[in-house]
Amino acid sequence: MRLPLLLGLALSLAALLAAVVSLVWTPYDITAMAIAERLQPPSPAHWLGTDHFGRDIGAMLMAGAQTSIAVALVAVGIGMGAGVPLGLIAAANRGSLIDEAVMRLNDLVFAFPSLVIAILITAVFGPSALNAILAIGIFNVPVFARVTRGAALSLWTLDFIRAAEVAGKGPARISVEHILPNLANLLIVQGTIQFSLGILAEAGLSYVGLGAQPPTASWGRMLAEAQTMVTLAPHVAIFPGLAIVLTVLGLNLLGDGLRDHLDPRLRRIR
């Protein structure tokens, strides 16, 4: 394994570990306020300092990791769950009206940036973490559909697929039994990329108030709250941002590293 892959794996696992541990333990209670201890700089008691309510920033970051990872993960699940079947169907019916319809549908969803989807949903249903998941998830669908269709199309021209056709298997069965397993690596890599984009998008949505609502901890909202205090206590703005950068960087390095590791031929795509 090469160094960037190792670094990516370490950073991603650290974020995941913080999220999992925060389910059962955080160094301080993130819902308890201690106004006397507000805006403390980093110290032995509070390694990353405290925020304007005296809450421990380290503990908030751990709980925030939970929100970020949960939102991004479910959004990738939505994207894959809908996008991969659509891509497989389009590729199996390549050149037909179904293929054309799937591709046009993709283009349409692509015209709605996830923030715009979130704005639409929020305008009608109000803000929530669920809206963020839906908005990012919907945005992921055409991404996975496109990647799946593209890779499946080239697989359909290969001899072993011909052989399966001659053996009497139908397009649906071939898609599931032969095409899909050969896409696994590609989907893992794309999934990692969309996962990291999802974390960035979640941070952006909760920063502008369209994502998780209080008291759920979220990195984006921590930054929104820090904005007015940035001169008084820069650490409240710096640590949540660092958490986002390191997690996203880790996932990107992991994605790139996995691509090279799993399939050297894919290296040419980027």
């Binding site: 046009r104 283009d107 349409l108 692509f110 015209a111 709605f112 940036p113 996830s114 923030l115 715009v116 704005i119 639409l120 949903i121 929020t122 305008a123 009608v124 990291s196 960035l200 941070a203 952006g204 920063y207 502008v208 108030g209 984006g220 930054l223 820090a226 904005q227 940035v230 001169t231 820069p234 703005a237 710096i238 949540p240 941002g241 986002i244 950068v245 390191l246 996203v248 960087l249 990107n252 390095l253 040419r268 980027r270």
Partner: protein, 314 residues
């Protein structure tokens, strides 16, 4: 060429039609009674009925939809419920901030990305390449609104070179540009990182082609080959990404405007959401989506201009 253009135009029209149908359905049909939603729970029956009458909500949805899109085609976006002014006027005011911001950011991103991408591709595998690639990894991971806060901390509060927020208007172009500089940098850097990576890999791909070896063999220098032969052929993937990035740029601008308190479309849409001014939300979202679809269309045309082979297809 004419057939290609016609095909693209038809697909542009269809996309706009379907997108507008989706937006109309979400905003005006899903909430049930938009008038009641806009006024909140405490509104009396009469007020709701009056607003419904004023907004023309008593008509059947298909009629309202037709009225909405034909109005927009004429430049009539309806009346803002909270501001009591035509939405078209509001949007025009806000676009005077948002459009220059997007253009400024796009220009900066291109100015940073092209030299960086060219350098990395020309020095592939060496220290300069590694430095550019490392920098782009961090650039991609950077949330633009956080980067914006850091820029404010350093260049507005510590050194006071640029304003920390707000917009003085275009009476003085210099002051206007100064107010947009930090927001534009915050938007541009993450975009530039992606663009530089795509440009590098596209260039490296073309540099492996036989005709590049021929160009070198006939005595062109490395730099000449890259600029005259490889760059043009690497432009297709770069354009695709530039087009796709436009939608990220729009989303980014909406968020960045909130960091710097800029009176652009992004601020307008968030004010409209909190005030439940669905008419404004509907029209501004349509304008944003229209912009994305239009850019996709322009990118398609640019493909044809760059690569004559594409004109015959589609």
């Amino acid at each position: 060429m004419l057939r290609y253009l016609l095909g693209r135009l038809i697909s542009l029209g269809l996309s706009l039609l379907v997108a507008s149908l989706v937006i109309f359905t979400v905003i005006e049909v899903v909430p049930g009674d938009p008038a009641a939603y806009m006024l909140g729970l405490n509104a009396s029956e009469d007020t709701v009925a009056a607003l419904r009458e004023r907004l023309g909500l008593n008509a059947a949805p298909p009629i309202r939809y037709l009225g909405w899109i034909t109005g927009m085609a004429r430049g009539d976006f309806g009346l803002s419920y909270t501001y009591k002014v035509p939405v078209a006027d509001l949007v025009a005011q806000r676009l005077a901030v948002s459009l220059p911001l997007a253009a400024y950011a796009l220009a900066l991103a291109t100015l940073i990305a092209f030299p960086a991408g060219l350098l990395a591709a020309a020095r592939r595998g060496r220290a300069a390449d590694a430095a550019v690639m490392g920098a782009t990894q961090i650039g991609i991971a950077l949330p633009n609104f956080w980067f914006a806060m850091l820029l404010v901390l350093v260049f507005a509060l510590h050194w006071q070179i640029f304003p920390a927020g707000g917009f003085p208007g275009w009476q003085s172009v210099g002051a206007g540009l100064r107010a947009l500089t930090l927001p534009a940098i915050a938007l541009a850097l993450p975009q530039a990182a992606i663009l530089a990576r795509v440009l590098r890999s596209a260039l490296i791909e073309t540099l492996d082609q036989d005709y590049i070896r021929t160009a070198r063999a006939k005595g062109l220098t490395r730099g000449q080959t890259i600029l005259h032969h490889a760059l043009r052929n690497a432009m297709i993937p770069v354009l695709t990404i530039l087009g796709m990035q436009f939608s990220f740029l729009i989303a980014g601008a909406i968020i960045i405007e909130n960091v710097f308190y800029l009176p652009g479309l992004g601020r307008l849409i968030f004010q409209a959401i909190t005030q439940r001014d669905l008419i404004v939300v509907e029209s501004v979202v349509m304008i944003l989506v229209f912009a994305v679809i239009l850019v996709t269309f322009l990118v398609d045309l640019a493909y044809a201009a760059i690569d004559p082979r594409l004109r015959k297809r589609a």
